[in-house]
Symmetry: C2
Subunit: 464 residues, 2 copies
């Protein structure tokens, strides 16, 4: 395997060897999801959809095509996306009367329907979600799962009677995404309220979930937008309140990128041996390797391995016996690369003693458990997740720096997230942006690191 120090080379090799994606598809920025990658994405999707539905979101699926006039209704919105839209102009040999866009995001088509679906205050809040692919013609350098022209996500959309209710939904969604990112994927993140110039086109506020990749750059993995009444006014989405007045709804929209979440999980948890995955999302949770040196006695070992597998099957664990012809060493190598959280080596001695040799992928730790202790295996799964989460958290925390002077920026930039101060002067802001992007401008008062004047606390970083 290749050293993770060279992150980009390591990353591409893992995507390839662990059957996550294939990037050789003949359209730039589009890739094929293979078995291993698709599995993890489907697990995230299911976990997220369940939480959204428990919080009263209705599942829906909208068409991928948006009429040009619908997409263009909200002027700020279309201004933000128009350079990135794929356009359908022909069908068969016919030129279409109006162009159709491949959805870059679905606010506009969904809100066309919200206008029809919402009549009275009894219809509110209306919350829907869909898991789908969206399309953006990225002109920047594309990277598998991180920046592509087709990407998989879940998008949520809501309508509310007032700003307060919309704001509460923003908070609910933050908690739901936190559970997805931290509990399921064991990833650290920070929520940054994006500065005005970096908000979602058409939103009043954008909250972004940023994680930190091993190369010190931040990766935006999810966003939650408070849309105010910007879209409801343009799409004329109104409801009748108790007194019979017709009012425009308040809206929010939100989405995590499954591809980026997968990219972050791969990059942050992985090591020089390849993929490391939290057990909950691992396509295969346990691989059993029968260790047999000579033909005699091998049948008994295989039978023992099968007995163990049956027990694990009955616990709902995803398990496989690797009965291949190759040597144990190359089996170890393969399943380590593919990030299987636990390996069980079973040889004649384990059989005799009624034991199982258990090797953890995350720590390499080897231990023995009794056959009758199999039921406790989920405790080890939990330990693995906790360990991955804590390790990632502590690395994350160790790469948050505070600086007081612009001269200190060079030593820190590209190594993590820098907390600094910025005044309202455009010149100082430009000086900082020569080095890195501004993730957020907080309310906290702080001294400007450029001119020393009074300003606000900011976070800056190199970003993907």
């Amino acid at each position: 395997m290749v050293c993770k120090k060279n992150l980009s080379e390591w990353y591409h090799k893992v995507l390839d060897e662990a059957d996550i994606t294939d990037s050789r598809y003949p359209v730039k920025g589009m890739l094929i999801y293979k078995k291993w990658g698709l599995f993890v994405i489907r697990e995230m999707q299911r976990y997220l959809e369940k939480m959204l539905e428990e919080s009263d979101h209705e599942p829906t699926l909208f068409p991928v095509l948006i009429p040009e006039d619908t997409l263009g209704k909200e002027t700020e919105h279309i201004a933000g996306f128009e350079e990135e839209v794929f356009w359908i102009t022909h069908a068969g040999a016919n030129k279409l009367e109006r162009r159709l866009a491949l959805r870059p995001t679905s606010e506009t088509p969904i809100y066309e329907m919200f206008r029809l679906w919402i009549r009275s205050h009894n219809d509110l809040p209306l919350k829907i979600h869909q898991s789908c692919a969206v399309y953006r013609y990225e002109t920047k350098h594309t990277r598998p799962l991180i920046r592509g022209r087709e990407f998989l996500w879940n998008e949520g959309h809501s309508a509310h009677v007032d700003a307060k209710d919309a704001k509460e939904n923003v908070e609910d969604i933050k908690r739901i995404y936190e559970r997805l990112i931290k509990d399921l994927l064991c990833l650290p993140f920070v929520i940054n309220r994006r500065p005005e110039w970096d908000r979602f086109p058409g939103a009043d506020e954008t909250y972004a979930f940023d994680t930190l990749m091993p190369d010190g750059k931040t990766l935006q993995i999810a966003t939650v937008h408070n849309l105010g009444q910007n879209f409801s006014k343009v799409f004329d989405i109104t409801y009748e309140d108790i007194e019979g007045k017709h009012l425009h709804v308040f809206q929010t929209s939100y989405g995590p990128s499954f591809g980026r979440l997968l990219a972050a999980a791969i990059s942050i948890h992985g090591d020089d041996k390849g993929l490391v995955l939290p057990p909950e999302i691992a396509p295969l949770q346990i691989v059993i390797i029968p260790i047999v040196f000579k033909k005699s006695g091998s049948e008994e070992v295989i039978a023992y391995a099968k007995k163990i597998k049956e027990e694990l099957d009955s616990l709902g664990i995803r398990v496989k016996i690797d009965e291949g012809e190759d040597r144990p060493g190359s089996k170890f190598y393969r399943w380590e690369m593919k990030g299987v959280p636990l390996r069980m080596d079973v040889g004649p001695r384990d059989l005799k003693e009624g034991k199982i040799t258990v090797v953890r992928r995350d720590t390499g730790e080897k231990s023995q458990i009794g056959f009758d202790e199999i039921e406790g295996i989920k405790t080890i799964f939990k330990d693995i997740s906790d360990n991955l989460r804590e390790k990632a958290e502590s690395r994350f925390r160790s790469r948050i720096f505070k600086i007081e002077n612009i001269d200190d920026i060079k030593g820190k930039v590209g190594k993590g997230i820098i907390i600094a101060g910025l005044c309202s002067g455009g010149v100082c802001s430009e000086r900082i942006e020569e080095h890195a992007d501004i993730l957020c401008v907080n309310e906290t008062v702080a001294k400007c690191i450029v001119c020393g004047g009074e300003g606000r606390e900011i976070k800056i970083a190199k970003t993907y």
Copy 2:
């Protein structure tokens, strides 16, 4: 509700009132899948994917866009699809160097990758599947779920060392689709080997699964194609055999339409009260209606309903208590419309006796069970599925007619499937096709119903 005799009106009303789809989306032939419809489709998808993966299919997901040169490689294939392809010509303000097609089906992009993935006989058979949407610019009258320009399906693709192995896969897939259609959806069907002029473009053989709608027209719900070496020769997909020779693979491809399967389940099982669904695919399997006439005593009835719900929850049954303000009658009406297989009415008397009043959606049958008999509820589910399946089967069989003379066609056409005879003369074939479509030409010898000459057995019907 509206009488099912007027099938089209009834169908649209059910789609709308049972929250299956919304057809008001502003792009012709494209619709919004709503909660109830999406649920049933996801259940089918899961059931099918599980069977395919148990039969060694790897899940994948390919991009929706296909380069023009890839789509056009196999000349028969592109000839069959070119009038139906949506073309992307621009991205942002830029004209693309080469046009990109929205996939109408994925043989060509997938086989570009098969060429890279297949090296030796050890890589075969290669079987993959994906659940996705495909796009066809239908010029015929569109109908929700039945004929649209965007539709949801699962497509499978395989490569084999020889024709025999490919043929075996065709048989495996037929069995898998049979389980999906008959076991899960409780629908009758017949497999017809399509005549040459009606095969999938690029296939040597096409087997179609046809069901029969209540209006007497057949609906093609799935197809399985034997592609021979047509694609492998054009895409140069070869493998090295044991002797080191390089040979072209043999291929098959196949797919059921989830939309059409849903349309068939709705139309075939439904009745004048609305949707009727087999319990396995019903979004809600049981609705509990507390019957309370006065305020006093209502709390105890609600508590009893909750106790029943808990019990059902623990059995993994999808259940809900309708505690709404409206009268029981309108609740009955609503849940009947939405096809909930079982209703449980619980009133003070049921509570006192420790009983539950159970009403079946399929038969309207009312019975009482004891609280301690809840565990047996799955037997009733099975009875409902069996009943739906048998009723549909027997109606299906009763609408297969045999005719010996062209004059008899008029009385039967549009009422079901007609078995007849046809010689090889083009004139006789045209006479028949004035009335109906030819679903298949079998090997069985039969007298031509037009000229009386020697011919083959055929099946004909009006088709969707």
